[in-house]
């Protein structure tokens, strides 16, 4: 990869209007000697300690990196093993990678001497992160990506350390303006839930990398996060045509299909990934989604659990498992699952929302408020959060109608799709005796329903209220319009309309017979 880029300057900087720095040219490495090749062979066959041992006296930068990386991986492997071996009554005690201390010392020394290449720096950054020195780790990783921008792993480690927009902005100052930086920022924005920005960056990148599956998948993920399911669906479909054995980000695709309730497509996807790689957390998650959509919640839980066994920090699996437990009427387990998701990523608004929902289901609206507030704080432009909060306030136990109205207003401002907010606003204002405001919201609600060509009890309620209200305000013509519409409905509504119009006719002195002439 590196060689390819180094050979041709044409690839080094993509042609855009943006001014990027030139790609740093690396000094020619020492010739790979036999020791190195032997170690690499051991490394490839996953005999890490053996590989490290072979390189014990090698001083080249490449050898040094390989030895360090092999040691790190050996330590990680032992750590994972120990974690299972040491499971006590209170869960798995946190085991540590015993190589970290030695590696840190050694890499630190090399860094000070300047005898370290960007790959070594990457390793140093990883070690520092594991040791909990986040600031230094960031600085080292920035050095690494500045030295060699194509090491995506270094970028991802750096991204995992940028947990807030402030940190990201601080890091931004030190990174050279290479085009890889755009990939990094796009990805970081996506992670930090700044979807609009992420989408913009990716669309820009797509101009240069029009054939990149990765960029396409990221765009689809962003679209999904913005609840643009149709767009996301189309992109993922395309992606699968080009790359039928892909498993990465397919869990997001399954979420899209779940949201669109396309059962058969989801089953096809599940079939496809399971034949590609059964033991990937994504695969398990997709199957879990499928079972969930089919209403087989026990089975879904089994697959989500498997996904979590493969990756304990797999955020969406915890949240989805929480949903399944809610369906299975096991609130304690649901709460636990959601809480784990929240503790892995405190910005996961879905899990906060799930917590609120579970407590609300347990008839604890006051307790649920806290969680809904958290979710609304994290996702302030999402009308669903505000509706949930409002419903809590509105519940019989709390009966805090003014607060509920405030929340519904917010929801209505953020284009609430299901139309709950407007009708609720109208209803609540009516309940509190503010008839003018109620009429305003009923009108808005009616307009919306007309636009969407909806029919149902809400339309009738709005029409009856508006007819009555206009009548009482002496807006007879308007009242007439609503009454006429009411006449299209069933007997009770006709009766209401007739009553209102009867009142009107008696008030205006017309003979009441006139109404009957219009009757169908």
């Amino acid at each position: 990869m590196r060689r390819r880029f180094r050979g041709s300057d044409v690839f080094s900087t993509p042609s855009t209007s943006m001014s990027y720095v030139g790609t740093p040219v690396l000094v020619e490495e020492e010739i790979e000697n036999d020791y190195y090749l032997l170690a690499k062979a051991y490394f490839d066959s996953r005999e890490y300690r053996r590989a490290a041992h072979v390189l014990r006296d090698q001083t080249g930068k490449k050898a040094m990196f390989l030895r360090g990386y092999a040691l790190y991986l050996a330590g990680e492997k032992r750590k994972e093993e120990e974690m299972i071996e040491l499971e006590g009554p209170f869960g798995k005690g946190t085991t540590i990678n015993c190589e970290l201390g030695g590696l840190e010392q050694e890499l630190c020394m090399h860094r000070k001497k300047g005898s370290i290449d960007p790959f070594g720096l990457y390793l140093y950054g990883v070690v520092l992160r594991d040791r909990g020195c986040d600031d230094l780790a960031r600085a080292v990783l920035v050095e690494s990506v500045n030295g060699y921008p194509w090491n995506w792993n270094a970028w991802s480690e750096l991204q995992s350390l940028c947990t807030s927009i402030d940190i990201l902005n601080n890091v931004n100052v030190n990174i050279k303006n290479h085009w890889m930086k755009d990939f990094f920022f796009a990805s970081a924005y996506l992670e930090l839930k700044i979807y609009g920005e992420a989408l913009k960056k990716y669309e820009l990148l797509q101009g240069n990398f029009s054939l990149s599956d990765y960029v396409q998948a990221q765009i689809a993920t962003a679209q999904y996060s913005l609840s643009e399911f149709d767009e996301a669906h189309a992109i993922f479909d395309d992606l699968l045509k080009n790359d039928p054995y892909r498993v990465d980000t397919m869990d997001v695709y399954s979420n899209v299909l779940y949201a669109k309730e396309s059962c058969s497509a989801l089953s096809c996807l599940a079939h496809r990934v399971i034949s590609t790689d059964k033991y990937r957390p994504e695969s398990c998650c997709i199957i879990g989604n499928y079972y969930s959509l089919k209403g087989l919640h026990e089975k879904a839980v089994i697959y989500f659990r498997r996904a979590l066994r493969l990756n304990r920090k797999y955020l969406s699996a915890w949240t989805l498992m929480g949903h399944e437990y809610v369906e299975m009427k096991n609130p304690a387990a649901a709460v636990d699952a959601y809480r784990r998701a929240v503790d892995i990523n405190v910005r996961d608004y879905r899990a906060w929302y799930g917590l609120g929902q579970t407590y609300e289901l347990m008839a604890m609206p006051f307790y649920a408020l806290y969680y809904y507030r958290k979710s609304a704080y994290l996702q302030p432009t999402d009308a669903r959060m505000w509706v949930a909060l409002a419903q809590c306030y509105e519940s019989g136990q709390l009966n805090m109608l003014d607060e509920a109205i405030k929340c519904y207003k917010r929801a209505a401002n953020y284009n609430e799709r299901e139309g709950i907010a407007l009708s609720k606003l109208a209803e609540l204002h009516d309940k509190l005796g503010r008839r003018d405001q109620a009429a305003m919201y009923y009108k808005l609600d009616l307009e919306r329903m007309d636009e969407e060509q909806r029919e149902g009890p809400n339309v009738i309620r709005a029409l009856s209220f508006l007819a009555e209200h206009c009548q009482s305000q002496n807006k007879h013509e308007e009242a007439q319009i609503y009454c006429t519409r009411l006449l299209d409905y069933t007997a009770t509504e006709k009766e209401t309309a007739r009553n209102i119009m009867g009142m009107k006719t008696s008030q205006s002195g017309f003979p009441s017979m006139e109404v009957d002439q219009f009757m169908p």
Partner: protein, 933 residues
């Protein structure tokens, strides 16, 4: 991975448990003698057994103790045998260097049970009962070893190596035990690196950290005792152990000075906390489940008693470590919640409370043995979450939110038919209603969301009536549950209610309805007496928790305190405690919560006697609380008892004694975290300044008191009333009668509005005083009479006596014709005043008596000088102690006049000199400095 909470029952083998097994083997080796070989007497042998049981059960820490500490304890228990036993122990441990030897060790352990054939033949032979505590422990260890995987055995061996290595590196003890170094040299590597590492500032920084989890530091502070030095040593070496550069790295690292410097530089950028906790957990081993839970429970109790001794970060570090070792132990979040709560960190406190209940559904750690816990465990006990949330909001002064949480808790309890939870929640609501100011409650009770209040009561009823109905309901529930703790709590609350409120029938119409409005001291007494009596029945109650863990803990602590001397010699007379303020170490058979309620009943008694007017009984009850319940009561309760005692001193012995006592009390209860103490100081200062005529300073103090009223925890109406009362008094002392009267008037209105009847009586009395001073006797009389009526209906005898005294003064002001009437009034209340009144009241009464006699035209000084001189002399003595200059001048003036009339010029001159002295002091209040302030 498990998403639902599961009981943690498994038992893991640790090096410390192996040590205990080895010691048990030593204890119960079959031998032909009465006691096995190293022990010389039966008592020594028994003491060793108690020590072993304590090691198994103690809850003084959550990590297994080090070998070094064990050997120190051995030394204290066995005296001269320690060398031998410790040697045997280390020898045994050092022989365990392979999995096979472990196997042999456990096989050999079976000897302690004796064989079935021999037990009934040889009667004297020592053998363990398989069902005894020690027997069960050995069986459990053996069973655990038998199901241990090979990897588990390997880890155990590594841990044993670390355990011994830690010890052998401690130079001052290692001369005992040479075998260790020899055997474990296999495991101990890279010794040369240690020295370099010790220079590393990062590792030195850890030294701050490890001792923190040491429970001794978190307690009374002084108990570290003899072990301090050695423990520091051990923790230091623990760090060395943990921080060792990994052995398998096989990197020829030769740290040079420059690289170390670089490292320091790099480390400056790191976050210190994270470094601290990342690696230290390495070789620490967690204790058994019940020990850890017991430890956490003890800590939670300690929070209430001695919160001042918890430092936020120290405790937090300990919890962090515990969380590392046991990520599934959710109780940690609860403790963290308590820690934040007591350090007034609202956000963390709320967050951790919710985290705890989210993870554990309220089923972990909290006592769920009550009968009500029959519902499906899948449902969780979220009502407890709401109850805790209510208490949290209450603590931070969010009474609306607290009420909402508690209301929801009531609903959930109903839904889950959790009677116990319901009774607790009702009790909490009662507590909330009775403790916070009445004013804050009015808004809450009227609002629509407070549906905890039964629907039968409409919102128009006063808070007090709501409270009474709730209290009765709550008591009924507690009685039907037969839960002594709750019954006692409710009875106490009822007593408190009876004390402060007039009882009137809830529904009163018609001519036959009783209209007598009185408080009833008898019912108060009855409630107070019944409540602690009930507690003796706690044995049948769910609250009875096993206390042997804390017994063992305190036994071990005592052992460590006794230090090097053998406990056998020390046992006689070790009970005495030189620090009278520090708590006794012997744990009680009764659970703490029971004792706490018991103690609270004594405080309530003190409060009731304070109102009814018996100072001696106030003092007695406060003393009982301070002496008998210091250990178990919450720090706010015990500080209150001391406040009462200091107040007694101020009233009866003068300010000098009171301030000396106060400074002692302040040492124990830092005023910053104890509002009572802060208040007390200000109250004493205010009175003192008023008496000495330093009006400006008195007003300053009064203003400071006013600041306390607007505290974060809502406005305390009682305190607000008191501030107004003191403000009016200051104005009165400054002779600004108009202003004083208007303040007193607004005070009266406020008290009347919020139904604070006792304060109404004081406000009326104050009005009477103001009018008396302003020489409006006619206007003053009705106020004094009204006050007297209030006092009578509330049985406020002492306040009534003081009102009568004012009444008598007012009559006297109306002219000498009323002197006889005034005197007879005074004679009525004299027994009360002389028996229970403070220095000031007595002096005032004495002066009034003298004035009555002098005003009486039928009385002749020459014939009966003692009738006036005696009271005046008493008064002057009392006023000198109080340094009450204004009254003192009056008394000396009268004395001088009388001596003049009697022709005793020497005495007259003496009285006149004293008069002059007090007059000067009164005119120049700034001149005198108090040595005791």
């Amino acid at each position: 991975m498990d998403t639902i909470w599961r009981p943690a029952t498994s038992f893991t083998l640790t090096p410390h448990k192996i040590s205990v097994c080895a010691l048990i083997q030593l204890y119960a080796t079959p031998s032909p003698d009465t006691v096995p070989f190293p022990f010389s007497s039966v008592s020594q042998h028994n003491c060793f057994a108690i020590f072993l049981i304590s090691l198994i059960k103690a809850t003084d820490d959550f990590v297994e103790q080090s070998l070094e500490r064990l050997i120190m304890q051995l030394k204290a228990v066995t005296g001269e045998l320690d060398m031998f036993i410790a040697h045997r122990l280390t020898e045994r441990l050092s022989s365990l260097s392979s999995a096979d030897e472990l196997f042999n060790f456990f096989a050999g352990l079976q000897v302690v049970f004796g064989s079935n054939e021999t037990t009934n033949l040889e009667d004297e032979q020592i053998s363990l009962d398989t069902n005894s505590i020690l027997g069960m422990f050995v069986r459990r260890c053996t069973l655990t070893f038998n199901v241990l995987s090979f990897e588990g055995a390997c880890h155990l061996l590594t841990n044993i190596a670390a355990y011994c290595d830690q010890f052998s590196s401690c130079s001052d003890l290692s001369h005992y035990y040479s075998p260790i170094r020899r055997t474990f040299s296999v495991f101990v590597v890279n010794d040369s690196k240690k020295e370099a590492e010790l220079l590393d500032p990062e590792k030195l920084r850890l030294a701050n950290y490890v001792p923190d989890h040491d429970p001794h530091r978190l307690e009374a502070g002084s108990s570290a005792g003899l072990l301090t030095g050695t423990q520091d040593c051990s923790s230091f070496f623990r760090i060395r152990e943990v921080q060792r550069v990994p052995t398998q790295a096989q990197v020829p690292v030769k740290p040079k000075i420059s690289s170390l410097e670089d490292k320091i530089e790099d480390r400056m950028l790191c976050q210190p906390n994270e470094v601290g906790t990342n690696d230290t957990a390495g070789h620490l081993v967690l204790r058994t489940n019940w020990q850890v839970q017991g430890f956490l429970k003890e800590k939670a109790d300690l929070f209430e008693n001695k919160k001042a001794f918890f430092r936020l970060h120290e405790f937090e570090n300990m919890l962090k470590l515990l969380e590392k070792l046991a990520p599934e132990l959710h109780r940690v979040h609860y403790l963290r919640h308590l820690n934040s709560l007591y350090h007034e960190d609202y956000i963390n406190s709320l967050d951790n409370l919710r985290r705890y209940f989210d993870y554990s559904a309220g089923l972990e750690g909290i006592d769920t043995s009550s009968s009500s816990f029959a519902s499906n465990p899948r449902d969780g006990k979220y009502e407890t979450a709401l109850l805790c949330l209510g208490i949290l909001h209450c603590h931070f002064g969010h009474f609306n939110l607290a009420m909402q949480a508690l209301t929801e808790a009531v609903q959930i309890c109903h839904k889950n038919s959790d009677d116990f939870g319901l009774a607790c929640t009702l009790a909490a609501i009662c507590d909330l209603l009775s403790n916070i100011g009445v004013s804050s409650m009015n808004g809450i009770l009227g609002s629509s969301y407070c549906s905890a209040i039964p629907a039968s009561l409409d919102a128009s009823l006063s808070t007090q009536r709501h409270l009474l109905v709730l209290l009765k309901q709550s008591l009924e529930r507690a009685e039907s549950l037969k839960n002594a703790r709750l019954i006692a709590f409710n009875r106490l609350a009822l007593a408190k209610f009876d004390l402060e409120q007039i009882k009137r029938p809830l529904l009163s119409f018609g001519p036959n309805a009783s209209t007598r409005l009185r408080t009833c001291p008898i019912s108060v007494c009855e409630e107070l007496r019944i409540s602690p009596y009930l507690l003796s029945e706690f044995g049948s109650d769910a609250a009875s928790l096993p206390t042997d863990g804390s017994f063992c803990t305190s036994w071990l602590k005592k052992l460590e305190k006794s230090g090097s001397s053998s406990i056998l010699l020390d046992e006689v007379g070790s009970g005495c405690n030189d620090d009278s303020l520090s708590s006794a170490t012997e744990p009680s058979v009764l659970p703490n919560c029971i004792l706490q309620l018991c103690g609270a009943s004594y405080l309530a008694r003190a409060a009731s006697w304070e109102l009814y007017g018996s100072s001696a009984l106030v003092r007695l009850n406060a003393l009982v609380h301070a002496i008998c319940f210091a250990d178990c009561s919450s720090s706010s309760d015990s500080s209150l008892a001391y406040v009462k005692l200091v107040q007694y001193l101020a009233t009866y012995k003068g300010y000098q004694d009171a301030f000396t006592a106060l400074s002692l009390v302040e040492k124990r209860f830092p005023p910053l975290s104890h509002l009572h103490i802060q208040l007390l100081r200000l109250q004493l200062l205010h009175e003192h300044f008023i008496h000495r005529g330093c009006i400006k300073r008195a007003q300053q103090v009064c203003d400071e008191l006013g600041v306390l009223v607007s505290s974060a925890s809502g406005v305390d109406m009682d305190l607000k009333a008191e501030v107004n009362l003191r403000h009016a008094r200051t104005l009165l002392a400054a002779k600004q009668f108009d202003q004083a009267a208007s303040v007193a008037h607004s005070l009266f209105c406020m008290c009347y509005e919020f139904n604070m009847q006792i304060k109404v009586a004081s406000a009326l009395l104050l009005m009477a005083e103001i009018h008396k001073k302003a020489e409006n006797a006619c206007t003053g009389l009705p106020y004094a009479l009204a006050s007297l009526t209030y006092c009578q209906s509330f049985n406020l005898d002492l306040l009534g006596a003081s009102a009568t005294l004012t009444l008598a003064d007012l009559w006297l002001c109306l002219g000498s014709v009323h002197a006889k009437r005034a005197l007879s009034l005074l004679h009525q209340v004299l027994p009360m005043i002389l028996g229970h009144g403070g220095l000031e009241l007595r002096a005032r009464a004495n002066i009034s008596i003298a004035k009555c006699y002098l005003a009486d035209s039928t009385f002749s000084v020459v014939e009966d000088p003692n009738s006036v001189l005696d009271p005046l002399n008493h008064a002057t003595e009392e006023l000198e102690i109080l340094q009450y200059h204004e009254l003192a001048t009056e008394a000396f003036y009268l004395t001088a006049l009388i001596y003049n009339a009697l022709g005793k010029f020497e005495e007259r001159e003496a009285a006149a000199t004293s008069f002059k002295k007090h007059m000067l002091a009164l005119e120049n209040p700034g001149d005198q400095e108090d040595s005791f302030l």
